[in-house]
Point group: C2
Chain length 391, copies 2
């Protein structure tokens, strides 16, 4: 892997995503005084702008931390030791969030899942109806599981909680869907939305987010899990002045400002439809190759990544290694129980048609080199699909 | 403040410090796959290299978080709810660490201090001797308090703990001394050393560190404070492979690699003596101005920043505002009980003689414009001092 590789690297893991030059240039500006007068302009712009991305009028907390930290923040700010939380095993990241909750001393129940379908609203509703004493304090769902390429129906789960007439908080992870797949914090009645910088926001990793509701803020008043770094209160107070209670990741905030500007220039609706268009073309390629999608239900197909099942007897990681070494394209590996069995194509963030076709071409050639049975018609199918959708 | 300011900004707060172009260019490289083969080279290099900066052969944990997070990490990995910890109020940052410990559910005792002197080893020793049942689990000291410009004598405090024959852990914050003032994690017998990226390491904020001892690792086994993001175990396991258990702040790690290379090229001894030389010249200027240092004891003078007491009847913040608006130089404000009463000159990180003289010149002119009584001989005195030390 240490031979020279010409041309631009294709970072087609499902995040971190390719960081556009505009953002790279923004973050390389000299660091400024985070207590000085210039900073507030930056602070106010990102704190206001990020709300538009979450489609909320409520506060969004920005942490100098990666996404895992924002998971922890969502829990420690709203819950107390031993509290029951209901989670749904839609994939590796859902199960990792579950482990994190247990480590924090929560009584976290993980509803089983096949990792090939999204969270079932009716299952959640039944558990909540059966919880007569309403001891469950929060329902935690991953909107788009980065490991499986499956999106869960957040409005339907909101409806399920409401139908059960249950007061549990609703916590949603949008790390790999935010700014790629339509997501509405306010309209969908989510209490805490967890986000990260390195996916649809097109930034390097190192920033993460909690969008919060009034109900979450009330829960905060009573929540007893110990917290300090993640605490909302100090953040909200300082944010009113456009600043942060402890040192923020200034240069990544430069990048966030540029990211928000780019997203709003394109328009969120356009961002979502571009992701959908490119994702459909990627799936058309997989189908043409005669390979299997990990996702079983079309309405749950992820528009930010596609997980492809490797045919029996072929190692996904050996194939990925070949694609990287020969064609300078990084693909995502199978995580947890999917290890070696799937590869993942990230098609989110700063991404367009030729980038997708280059990626799919490298995969098609890689399948050939690795002698994986397939029809070499994926790229052709993707092109037809893109042309058709362009008419 | 929105009129045009020509030339390079002088970021002379005591951190974030001026980020050198080499590091800015390093962090603007495209983000790579943190699970791919190229990453490990970066991972191993920073994980090994950072040990040299802490002067340790033991593991150093790297967090995608700012320094406050590494404070929290040091506590949650070694202590249990209700544990007694002994802290020393050397300044604003010591008292902030104390508040954080209380928020986490620790029984944190803060020994009073004047904010004009460092931690007294004999006071700590007496408290430990009086703690017959040895209920104090940790002694926490800030090596260099960024708010006061005072350095505490860490080897002497180690000796005090040993003289008291007390088993408490020794936790030290080096956020504003690491890579600026000589600090030896192993030789000085510290159990957890807390560091941050945005000071002597010359990086933007967003990375922080825990250097740990064998004894700290044993304490970790029994420590019961809830933790997940900060947990050492998963980090140490993953770090063996040059990777991280959750998404690292890749672009800041590019910067860290460059920072470590720069520090080792210069040589740590040279780095420390450069900071000492420039700090002495800054203090010579303060003395020549006939202004008062906040630090009272010469052996405790900080070599990374100088806090200057404003003469009675003059507002330090109004003066700072003038220096920024007229001369494009940011100075540090007085924090906590020193608010409005001191200004702070940061002279750490990527810093040299002409940068210091430019800074001191702006201050001298600013004192004149703000009609603060002083002798206009500070720059001259600094130059004489520098020339003398250069002979």
């Amino acid at each position: 892997m240490h031979h020279h590789q010409s041309g631009r690297h294709f970072l087609q893991i499902p995040g971190p995503t390719n960081v556009p030059d505009r953002i790279l240039r923004a973050i390389e500006r000299p660091t400024i005084d985070h207590r000085g007068p210039e900073f507030k302009g930056l602070g106010f712009e990102v704190l206001e702008g990020i709300k538009e991305v979450f489609q909320t009028k409520q506060p969004v907390i920005i942490y100098p931390a990666s996404g895992t930290g924002a998971w922890e923040a969502a829990l420690v700010n709203t819950l107390s030791p031993g509290d029951k939380v209901l989670m749904y095993d839609t994939g590796h990241f859902a199960s990792t969030w579950h482990k994190l909750a247990e480590k924090l001393g929560l009584d976290a129940q993980l509803l089983p899942g096949s990792w090939r379908e999204g969270a079932k609203p009716e299952v959640i509703e039944q558990v909540l109806v059966d919880d007569k004493n309403q001891t469950i304090k929060a329902v935690c769902v991953v909107h788009n599981d980065t490991a499986t390429g499956i999106t869960s129906d957040i409005p339907a789960i909101r409806k399920a909680i409401d139908s059960a007439v249950h007061p549990a908080l609703f916590l949603v992870d949008t790390i790999s869907s935010l700014a790629s797949i339509d997501y509405r914090h306010d309209e969908w009645g989510v209490d805490v939305t967890v986000g990260g910088s390195q996916k649809g926001l097109m930034l390097p990793p190192g920033l993460s987010f909690n969008a919060i509701s009034e109900k979450a803020l009330s829960a905060f008043e009573k929540a007893k899990l110990p917290r300090s770094y993640w605490e909302w209160q100090d953040m909200l107070e300082a944010n009113k002045q456009g600043v942060f209670p402890f040192t923020p990741a200034t240069n990544l905030l430069y990048g966030l400002r540029e990211s928000i500007r780019m997203l709003l220039e394109e328009g969120l609706d356009q961002v979502f439809s571009r992701h959908r268009r490119l994702a459909e073309a990627a799936r058309a390629a997989v189908q043409a190759w005669d390979l299997e999608l990990n996702a079983l239900i079309p309405s749950e197909y992820s528009n930010s990544l596609t997980a492809v099942v490797m045919p029996e007897g072929h190692d996904a990681d050996a194939f990925r290694k070949g694609v990287l070494e020969c064609f300078n394209v990084s693909l995502g590996n199978g995580l947890g129980r999917l290890n070696g069995k799937v590869f993942r194509i990230g098609h989110l963030g700063d991404f367009n048609e030729p980038m997708l076709l280059g990626t799919l071409g490298a995969i098609e050639m890689g399948l050939d080199l690795a002698k994986v049975p397939h029809r070499p018609e994926g790229v052709r199918a993707a092109m037809s699909n893109l042309v058709e959708n362009n008419r």
